[in-house]
Symmetry: C2
Subunit: 132 residues, 2 copies
Amino acid sequence: MQRIPKISESEWEIMKVIWRSNPITAEQIVLQLPADIEWSDQTVRTFINRLLKKNAIGFEKSGRSYHYYPLVSEQECVRAESQSFLKRVFGGAADLMVTNFLEDGHLSDKEIEQLQRILMEKQEKKERHPKT
Amino acid sequence: MQRIPKISESEWEIMKVIWRSNPITAEQIVLQLPADIEWSDQTVRTFINRLLKKNAIGFEKSGRSYHYYPLVSEQECVRAESQSFLKRVFGGAADLMVTNFLEDGHLSDKEIEQLQRILMEKQEKKERHPKT
DNA sequence: CCATTAATATTACAAGTGTAAACGGTAATT
DNA sequence: AATTACCGTTTACACTTGTAATATTAATGG
């Protein structure tokens, strides 16, 4: 049983809501899903149930309804998905991927400047901690 | 019928081979798959067939065997997958994604320098073509 | 020309996904 | 107390994916 369960596209939407605020009831999850998602209540509950089965979330009973909370962190899920994506599409080469994003115009000028700041910081940090 | 078909993880492996060299026979595809992939011939042919059905590849008959070639470019598939990944995991925010890759230590120092060069170039280009 | 063989095409089958409806129990309402 | 309304659980069903085995067709060697 691997640490991080495989989370499907739809399930990601549920998880994002739960990570944002938890513990949370099924009803609230439905309400907090992005407006462009139009799933029936039942559908949402199905996804919640599958996430329970996968041990991606847990719950505590509270009277009539359950309050769900994550059992895996967003951090680790993002990392796992990123690795998988990276491997599938770029054969694992992270620099290739980032380069592609830069070249392919996914990023606005403002975003590019932001990145430059981050890179700068990283560089400085490196210089202050040589070979760490 | 959308332009870019959805290509599964296994199918990506096939596509990568076909993009690298085409037209190419099924036999050669089997041979050129990464060594760590151990699929039976039949499995590979199944994937090839599914890609045909999806119109991701085409073929020309040549005697006994077919020679396959891509009908969609790697560029557009990479772009589609990236968009999908971005939307699923980062809610579409490309800068968040790149930042995450930087922060999360996926990149070596050398790669980071490389990126800085690319950003630099982009910046320069922008300055030479103001508001283009 | 026909049998052999090699390559493609069809079929199989379980697990995962998207999308719900139906069922069941418990709490609230009449 | 009986009924309703709500919430979670079970069941459903078609499509995709991973992983092949089997069937069919076409080319090639005799």
